[in-house]
Every structure is written in structure tokens, then in C-alpha cells.
């Protein structure tokens, strides 16, 4: 009897407290125009991607500072609402709902992974907020998972890989091996690269796929050595990428290779960890820090003042997202998400990467992709841009699966 009583009392108490909390707060939606531009940033704050999350926020902060210093956008102040997630789509979605319904955010940025974007895109219209994706590269985000309210600022994997394929003739090596992560991106990158390599008259002597979170690449590297390849195309990210590079070094794999071409494998945040052994590696690069245009120079200067180091693709792509959003607000003359979304359709703007256009059919931003080589420079490493590929070449036609 006691137990039932306790159970009942506890249930009622629980219901009462939650109800009290609930009725005390109000639902401040994001409908209509308002005096401030509220942007919720939801980067990963834990897990292997936390560093990228921090840098994404830095890009937005610099953008907001410059905008507010110049009197705001369309006369309105930019306010960043900085949240965090563990990069689990469920958490991100919960935080996004909180930011929109409780904090009144109209726009969302700095969400990192493609699965998070997939989950978010599915609910954007219901939330009535716009999301600016400058990090998740999955092609499906502008295909079957696209949303009228989701804008794809970063290049898709297809654009990146097409950019590399376009330049394959500039890289030494005739017998290519492909080492990719056993993951959707790994497979599609491998397939496209193979086709491009064969079209360029190169041999692809082997293809192998390692599961995500592989720590020991010994047996894969042994197979690479045995294959007699003189060039490797590697699609390995994060800790997997570091392990692969480190172990390839220990196995002396570089000795038999003329080219190691990474796909999203080496990037600026990893330079210090990976050290000089990656000098001479090639990789796709999303953003050219040395680009010769006034907007970029202004951004690089402001970012360096704010953070003490030059930007790389993560802060830059988030800055580009802010530029796109601001251009949309100015075009619409309103902060109402629906009006901004309409204004962004097929809008062209001047940006840190030159003139870019937001393609209305799938909300993809059309922009260049680059091929870079890791070179030693003033005590550290940096990317030297070897060539850039135009969006006409890299960007596939809009996916018919995208029904906005």
C-alpha cells in the first residue's frame, strides 16, 4: 500500500513541478520581422569534432562583429546565441528547438555533421527557421534530404571530388591505390576518383575500405605496399586519418609513393599533430586564405586580430554562411525567415571567395574548389593552392530528388 501511495504521490509531484515550469515560460516563436537578427550556433562542444566546432563559432563571431561595427545588417543588430551539442542528431535537434522556441532564434548555423543536418532539415519548416550548413558535405543534403529552409554553403562531397578529379593529370604517379573509409562518402569518392583516374589514362591497381574508427592500419598499409602502387588516394578522416598517416610513416610507405592525395584527410588543425611527415601531401582545400580579393583580405585581417591566427576552411565557410545570410536579409529587407528564404533564391553576392550564387533549385552555393599541397612555411606547415576548379565543372546538376 505504501508503495502505491508513494508511487502516486511521486507521479503527481513530478507532473505538478514540470507543469509549473512549463506554464511559467512562454512560447516566443520566430514569426515575422524583428529588430535583432538572432542566430543560434550549435557546434559540437565535445567529441572529436569539438575543435572544429570552436573554430566555426569564431568565424560567426568575426562576421557578427564586423556587421555590428558597421551599424548592423539592414539597420538591425546581429546577436549570436551560442549553444552546444555532442554531435548526436537527437541532441542537436533538441537544442535547435530550444533555441528557436525559447530564445527566438530565426537562423541556425555551425551545425557540424551531415546526419545532424539530415535530422534538422526534416524539421526546419516546422520550426520556421533557416539553417546555414557550412560543414556537412553529404550530397543527400541537397538531394532527397534538402529543405526549402536549409542552405548548403559548403561544397558537397561531389563538388570536392570533382575538383580533385579535374586536376588528376597534374599529380605524379601512374599506378593508383585507393584507401577509403567504409562509409558512404568513402565509397562514392572512391568510385568517382576511379572513373576520373581511368579516364585520365591511369591505372587503379587496388581499392580497399577500412571501417570507420579503425585504429590499426597495419594490414591495410601492408596491402598497399604489396600492390606496387606509386600513388595513393586516401579518404580517411579525424583520428582514422591521423592513425593512417602516422602508421604509413612508420611503414616507410612514402618511399614507394610519388603522390599521396588526401580527400578531407589533412587540414590545418591537424598540421601540428601530423608534423613534417605530411609535407608534400596533396589534399582538397575548400578555401584559399591567400585569395586576392578585398573582402577576403578584410576577413583574414579581422579574424587574425580576433583570434591571433589566420582562418582556414572551417571559420571561413562559416563566415561565408554569415555573408550569405546577411545578403539575403538585405535583399529581403526583413528578418522574417520565410522572406529571407525567398530572397536568397538564385541570389548572387560578392564574398570572400569571389562572386558566388545560391542555386535556387537545391539551395547549393556555387563556389570554387581547390587542390592544395602541404608545404613547409615559417616553422610550420601550410597549404599551397595549386589549382582551382570552377563550380561549372565541379557541381552536378540539381538532384531531382530534392523537392523543396
Amino acid at each position: 500500500m505504501k508503495r502505491q501511495l508513494i508511487a502516486a504521490v511521486a507521479a503527481l509531484a513530478l507532473g505538478a513541478t514540470t507543469a509549473a515550469c512549463g506554464s511559467a515560460s512562454t512560447n516566443s516563436g520566430s514569426d515575422g520581422d524583428s529588430d535583432t537578427i538572432k542566430i543560434a550556433l550549435i557546434p559540437p562542444t565535445s567529441g572529436a569534432l569539438a575543435q572544429f566546432g570552436t573554430d566555426a563559432v569564431k568565424g560567426w563571431k568575426t562576421a557578427a562583429r564586423i556587421a555590428n561595427d558597421n551599424g548592423g545588417i539592414d539597420g538591425k543588430k546581429v546577436e549570436l546565441i551560442i549553444k552546444g551539442t555532442d554531435a548526436d542528431p537527437a541532441t542537436t535537434l533538441r537544442v535547435a528547438k530550444e533555441a528557436v522556441t525559447k530564445d527566438g532564434a530565426q537562423f541556425i548555423g555551425a551545425v557540424m555533421t551531415s546526419p545532424e543536418h539530415a535530422a534538422l532539415n526534416a524539421q526546419l519548416e516546422g520550426l520556421g527557421a533557416l539553417s546555414f550548413n557550412s560543414l556537412g558535405k553529404d550530397d543527400a543534403l541537397v538531394g532527397e534530404q534538402c529543405s526549402k529552409y536549409g542552405f548548403h554553403i559548403v561544397q558537397t562531397s561531389s563538388m570536392d571530388i570533382n575538383g580533385l578529379a579535374d586536376n588528376i593529370n597534374e599529380l605524379p604517379g601512374e599506378k593508383w591505390a585507393i584507401m577509403a573509409v567504409d562509409y558512404a562518402t568513402g565509397h562514392s569518392a572512391a568510385k568517382k576518383f576511379k572513373a576520373a583516374a581511368e579516364a585520365a589514362g591511369k591505372d587503379v591497381v587496388m581499392e580497399q575500405f577500412a571501417p570507420l574508427n579503425t585504429t590499426d592500419f597495419g594490414s591495410y598499409i601492408t596491402k598497399l605496399k604489396d600492390s606496387g602502387a606509386d600513388a595513393v588516394f586516401a579518404v580517411e578522416y579525424g583520428a582514422d586519418g591521423v592513425a593512417f598517416v602516422q602508421q604509413a610513416d612508420q611503414f616507410n610507405l612514402d618511399d614507394q609513393l610519388k603522390t599521396v592525395l588526401g580527400f578531407n584527410m589533412v587540414s590545418e588543425p591537424l598540421f601540428e599533430t601530423l608534423g613534417d611527415s605530411i609535407a608534400g601531401y596533396y589534399n582538397n582545400v575548400g578555401y584559399d586564405v591567400d585569395a586576392d580579393n578585398a573582402l577576403n583580405q578584410e576577413f583574414v585581417k579581422a579574424y587574425t586580430e580576433d583570434n591571433g591566427s589566420a582562418p582556414y576552411y572551417v571559420p571561413a565557410d562559416n563566415y561565408l554562411a554569415a555573408e550569405t545570410l546577411f545578403a539575403g536579409i538585405e535583399e529581403a529587407g526583413s528578418t522574417d525567415p520565410a522572406e529571407v528564404a525567398d530572397a536568397l533564391q538564385d541570389l548572387s553576392l560578392d564574398s570572400i571567395t569571389g562572386e558566388v550564387t545560391l542555386r535556387g533549385a537545391d539551395n547549393q552555393l556555387l563556389r570554387d574548389s581547390y587542390l592544395g599541397e602541404v608545404v613547409k612555411a615559417d616553422g610550420g606547415l601550410k597549404f599551397k593552392i595549386l589549382s582551382d576548379a570552377n563550380p561549372d565543372v565541379t557541381t552536378p546538376e540539381p538532384d531531382s530528388a530534392c523537392k523543396k
Binding site: 565535445s46 567529441g47 572529436a48 569534432l49 569539438a50 575543435q51 567504409d182 580497399q208 575500405f209 577500412a210 571501417p211 574508427n213 579503425t214 585504429t215 590499426d216 597495419g218 594490414s219 591495410y220 601492408t222 596491402k223 605496399k225 604489396d226 579525424g238 583520428a239 582514422d240 591521423v242 592513425a243 602516422q246 602508421q247 612508420q250 611503414f251 616507410n252 588543425p269 591537424l270 599533430t273 601530423l274 608534423g275
Partner: protein, 284 residues
């Protein structure tokens, strides 16, 4: 199948062997599956990163196991001893909580960035063995692990303390009645087990990349190794660890996606076929 692939298997097996023998020792004596073992191993790797950054890897391989032995002493005195009359599963869940805390502390101290440790100068590059060119550092891991395994088994078999450990692991209450200082034995076992986790972490640091998920990634595999080897059997765990390393590596050559499932298959098969594990309840 070439010699290099067998060596790859031996190298992974060596790491699993060191890691699982520490877990098996603690399990055998305290009856507790130490869920914090993965976190101890990860802490060992990160401490090795800091030590070898300042004083070189050669020193790290001595300092880190000692540091972890101290952590082991704390574990024994703060948790295992005062709570020894609690059920084993409650203690196991407490180590689960400890693991969560330790993982977070590692992140707060070293950050989330993937880190890399360089092997000592003379072990960088490759050596030629059995006609194949193979990384010297991996050869060193194999040698160190085998020497450690032999030393541990000999010590357990031949020394007085070893005798007491074996007796207490067989039946801790009877051992106490027979006049063995069980508290002392347990202190030695838990600190030695932790030190072995530290050694495994140190050896792993230049071998794989350091990231905060590395502990969990190995924990489940190592728990499986201990169960497959026969709960409480140190030699069983060593053999199972080496065996699993070899099988997993060689099946990777054949099919990487199948290799991921190997530990789970091994566990299911062994438990259906021989529920007490390969060695049953026997110490070394």
C-alpha cells in the same frame, strides 16, 4: 598471406595481451570486471604523450606504469577494499562511473584533439625481418609484450607473492583463513594490473592515434578477451588476447567488415561451446 601480415597480427595481439592480463588479474582476485580499465589505458597513453614530449619516450615507458600503479593503489584503498563486501556487480558499476569521470578528466586536461606520439629515434623507420621490411617500433612492441608475459607468468609461478596471488584468486576467503595477507596481495594485484594498463597505453601511444574514444574502443574487446580466456585466468587472457589479435588482423586482410565482428563471434562461440572460457577458472 605474407610474413608482414602475421607480424601485424602479433603486434595487435601483443597490445591486447598486455591490456587483458592486467584486467584478468584484477578480475581473478577481486571478482570485479574493472570497467575503468579502458580509461586507465587511455590515461596511460595520454600521460605517455606528455612525458615523452618533455623527457623522451624511453623514460615514459618506465614512468607511466609507475604513475598508473599509484592510481591502482588509490583504486584499491578508496574503492575495492572498503567496498569488498559489496556485490561484485555493484563494484563493477562503480568502476563504470569511474571510467566516465576519467574519460572526461583526460579531455579536460589534454583536449579533444587527436594527438600523436613519436617512437624513440632508434625505433623510427623499418627493419628487415623474415625477408620483409617491417616497422621497428612494432617489432619492439612484440618483444616487450612477450618478455613481460614470460616474466609475469614466471613470477606468479615461482615467487612467494605469486603463490599467494594464485591462492587468493582461487578462493579469497580460504586464503585469508590460511594466513595469507589478502589485503596486501590485493594491493599488489590491483596496482600491478593498473600498471599493465599503463604499459599498454604507453606502448599504444606511438602505435595508434590518441583520441578520447580510444579507451572505450578497446574496453569491450578486452572484456571479451578476458571472458573468452576464462574469467580470472591470466594465461588464458594472454593466449586469448594474442589469438584474437592474430585472427582479427588476418581476417581484416580477407574482409575488413567481417573482422569488426570477430570479437563478438569469438565470444558467442566460446561461451556456447565452453561456458567457463578457454581456461576455466585457473590462475596461470
Amino acid at each position: 598471406m605474407n610474413a608482414a601480415q602475421v607480424l601485424n597480427g602479433l603486434a595487435l595481439g601483443s597490445l591486447l595481451m598486455v591490456l587483458s592480463s592486467g584486467l584478468a588479474m584484477i578480475y581473478g582476485l577481486r571478482g570485479v570486471a574493472n570497467f575503468a580499465h579502458g580509461a586507465l589505458y587511455m590515461s596511460g597513453a595520454y600521460i605517455a604523450y606528455s612525458v615523452s614530449d618533455r623527457m623522451g619516450f624511453g623514460l615514459a615507458i618506465i614512468v607511466v606504469p609507475l604513475a598508473l600503479a599509484v592510481i591502482g593503489v588509490v583504486l584499491e584503498l578508496a574503492f575495492f577494499r572498503p567496498l569488498q563486501h559489496r556485490s561484485h556487480i555493484e563494484l563493477g558499476l562503480i568502476t563504470f562511473g569511474l571510467a566516465l569521470i576519467a574519460e572526461r578528466l583526460v579531455i579536460l586536461i589534454w583536449g579533444e584533439k587527436t594527438l600523436r606520439v613519436r617512437p624513440p629515434e632508434f625505433l623510427q623507420g623499418t627493419s628487415t625481418i623474415f625477408g620483409v621490411e617491417y616497422p621497428s617500433y612494432r617489432l619492439a612492441i612484440i618483444v616487450i609484450a612477450l618478455v613481460m608475459a614470460a616474466a609475469l607468468i614466471l613470477w606468479l609461478r615461482l615467487s612467494n607473492v605469486g603463490l599467494h596471488i594464485r591462492a587468493a584468486s582461487q578462493d579469497i576467503e580460504t586464503a585469508a583463513i590460511m594466513g595469507i595477507n589478502v589485503d596486501k596481495v590485493s594491493l599488489i594485484v590491483v596496482s600491478l594490473g593498473s600498471a599493465l594498463a599503463g604499459l599498454a597505453g604507453t606502448l599504444a601511444a606511438p602505435y595508434i592515434a590518441l583520441d578520447p574514444g580510444m579507451g572505450n574502443a578497446f574496453l569491450i574487446t578486452v572484456l571479451i578477451v578476458v571472458v573468452v580466456g576464462g574469467i580470472g585466468s591470466i594465461a588464458g587472457a594472454m593466449i586469448a588476447g594474442m589469438g584474437l589479435g592474430l585472427i582479427q588482423t588476418l581476417s581484416t586482410v580477407w574482409s575488413p567488415s567481417f573482422a569488426v565482428l570477430v570479437p563478438y563471434l569469438a565470444l558467442t562461440i566460446v561461451l556456447l561451446w565452453r561456458p567457463t572460457g578457454l581456461a576455466g577458472k585457473r590462475i596461470s
